[in-house]
């Protein structure tokens, strides 16, 4: 299931049909999701899509780290990390801020497929009214540069990173209603899992869990379940080792 998410190029490619896909990655302090976001970005780039990154939380260098030149050449990084609020007043800050950049993407004229990665949705949600953000995301996802004439329009995939501890049920629910796919990260000792909730029009929702790890080059390694080693560590922690030494946290953080 997670692998099919990575094959974004295969999602709905009928000619003349408006193709859109929203995906939110809900992660936590212990189970971070930026690496999964980068894995999805890499896959989109390898599929030939242009990828726009709205970078609000990490520097461009940090985000591009781990990608080879083939990937990096397809990434357009909109830097809202250095001066998101225009405090420097040097004129270098991008006009309109992140919201302006999102709205500009609604007016794009090229017809090729594009992926828009929001790093992060949480930053946008903290700084913008929820309704404004949702309306803009809806407009980005439903952009139609050739209305009514049946000619092919470019696919738009929107990926958003959400820090699930930061927001209340209202904004989370509003964003959930916009996303076709929600990926919630979790796991056990040393092993990450993704719970994938997928809602497609005229289809029954699907809910699956996939164990995975992200390799250093941000390729995805899918697994059947927790490794034997991590299961053994889980049992050892719950029983207690009886030895003087470190205690490893076996549960969630905090």
């Amino acid at each position: 299931m997670l692998d099919s998410l990575l094959a974004l190029g295969g999602l709905g490619t009928e000619v003349g049909r408006k193709d859109r896909d929203g995906l939110s990655i809900r992660h936590s302090v212990e189970w971070e999701g930026r690496s999964l976001l980068k894995a999805l970005v890499k896959k989109s780039a390898l599929c030939g899509e242009q990828v726009h990154i709205l970078g609000c939380e990490v520097s461009e260098e940090e985000f591009r780290e781990g990608f080879d030149s083939q990937i990096n050449n397809r990434l357009v990084y909109h830097d809202f990390f250095r001066d998101p609020l225009n405090w420097s007043k040097t004129g270098e800050a991008l006009p309109g801020g992140p919201l302006g950049a999102l709205r500009a993407m609604c007016k794009r004229t090229d017809l090729g497929p594009v992926t828009i990665a929001l790093d992060s949705l949480s930053w946008l949600l903290l700084h913008l009214p929820c309704t404004t953000l949702c309306q803009t995301l809806h407009a980005v996802s439903h952009q139609d540069s050739c209305p009514g004439d049946g000619s092919p329009v470019g696919k738009v995939h929107v990926l958003g990173l959400l820090h699930e501890e930061l927001h209340g049920p209202g904004p989370m629910g509003a964003l959930s209603s916009l996303a076709q796919t929600e990926v919630t990260l979790g796991g056990t000792v040393g092993q990450a899992s993704a719970r994938i909730l997928c809602r497609r029009p005229r289809q029954r929702p699907t809910d699956q869990t996939q164990w995975f790890s992200i390799l250093p080059d941000f390729s995805l390694d899918l697994q059947e379940g927790p490794s034997i080693e991590s299961q053994a560590r889980t049992r050892k922690c719950s029983l207690g080792s009886g030895k003087r030494g470190e205690n490893k946290s076996c549960g969630g953080w905090g």
Binding site: E32, S35, S59, E62, W87, H163, L166, P216, K248, S249
Partner: protein, 266 residues
């Protein structure tokens, strides 16, 4: 600094990682010993330190610092330490004319806006000086503590924005480090503090959380310390690591031991 804590963190003043944000958090206990540790740690590492001290006076930190082997007065005189004494300078905001915005200017404003003046103070304090100054290794910002800013009327997003800009300047541009303390009151209705704590947690490379014992006061065990290393943007092959130790604070040191392994009960 506390050598045992350095051992747990696998670090020393001469080989500390740069460009990191460390979050100190305390819940149902006093985590200020961590602040004193990092203050002495980075002074001994020959770093240029900007200390935004909003909770205690300079003399308090100096007295504790001397127990840990650092002299804050001398550090300030030789330009290694820039110390913003919040308790004293807050009075200046109201009773002294300022040529330029005071770092704590938000105290005067009816609608507490942002911490841009405080950020500019930090940036000015830690900017590299080309000549005439001893070669400090790298800059460090220390804040004790951020929760008090919420109590003074600022919103959590304003504090997060301040730390964001500090990360850009101190961590990214100058390859320095930031250490901040946030309290976790455990109050489920304190949404602003939760936003601040969780927001900073997502940005941090290292989280040290001091917690009181669930069973209450103990003479020989003063609390437990959870350590979480994070790699916010790296692959999961470098999995985050979490450790938990109990500790006892003594006059000039802190001893750490595994749960239930206090020397008093063995």
């Amino acid at each position: 600094m506390f050598p045992e804590l350095n051992n747990l963190l696998n670090t020393t003043p001469d080989k500390a990682e740069q460009g990191t944000l460390t979050l100190l958090c305390d819940s149902k206990t006093d985590g200020s010993f961590l602040v004193h540790h990092f203050l002495s740690f980075y002074l001994k590492a020959n770093c240029k330190v900007c200390f935004v001290a909003l909770i205690q006076s300079f003399s308090h930190y100096n007295i504790v610092g001397q127990k840990l082997g650092v002299n804050l007065t001398m550090a300030r005189e030789r330009g290694q330490l820039v110390f913003l004494e919040g308790l004293k300078s807050a009075v200046d905001v109201f009773f002294r004319a300022q040529e330029k915005p005071h770092p704590l200017q938000f105290l005067r404003e009816a609608n507490a806006g942002n911490l841009k003046p405080l950020f500019e103070f930090v940036r000015e304090a830690l900017k590299p000086v080309d000549s005439g100054e001893a070669g400090w290794t790298y800059p460090v910002l220390l804040v004790d503590d951020l929760s008090v800013l919420l109590s003074l009327g600022l919103g959590a997003v304003a504090v997060l924005d301040f730390i964001h800009y500090c990360r850009v300047t101190v961590c990214w541009e100058l390859k320095g480090n930031i250490v901040v303390l946030v309290h976790d009151s455990g109050d489920v209705e304190d949404e602003e503090n939760d936003i601040l704590l969780n927001g900073l947690s997502h940005q941090s490379h290292l989280i040290l959380r001091a917690e009181g014992l669930a069973t209450g006061f103990c003479r020989d065990v003063h609390g437990q310390l959870r350590i979480l290393w994070r790699r916010p943007s790296q692959s999961t092959s470098q999995r985050d690591q979490s450790l938990t130790y109990q500790y006892k604070i003594q006059d000039r040191s802190v001893s750490f031991f595994a749960k239930g392994m206090s020397p008093a009960v063995l």
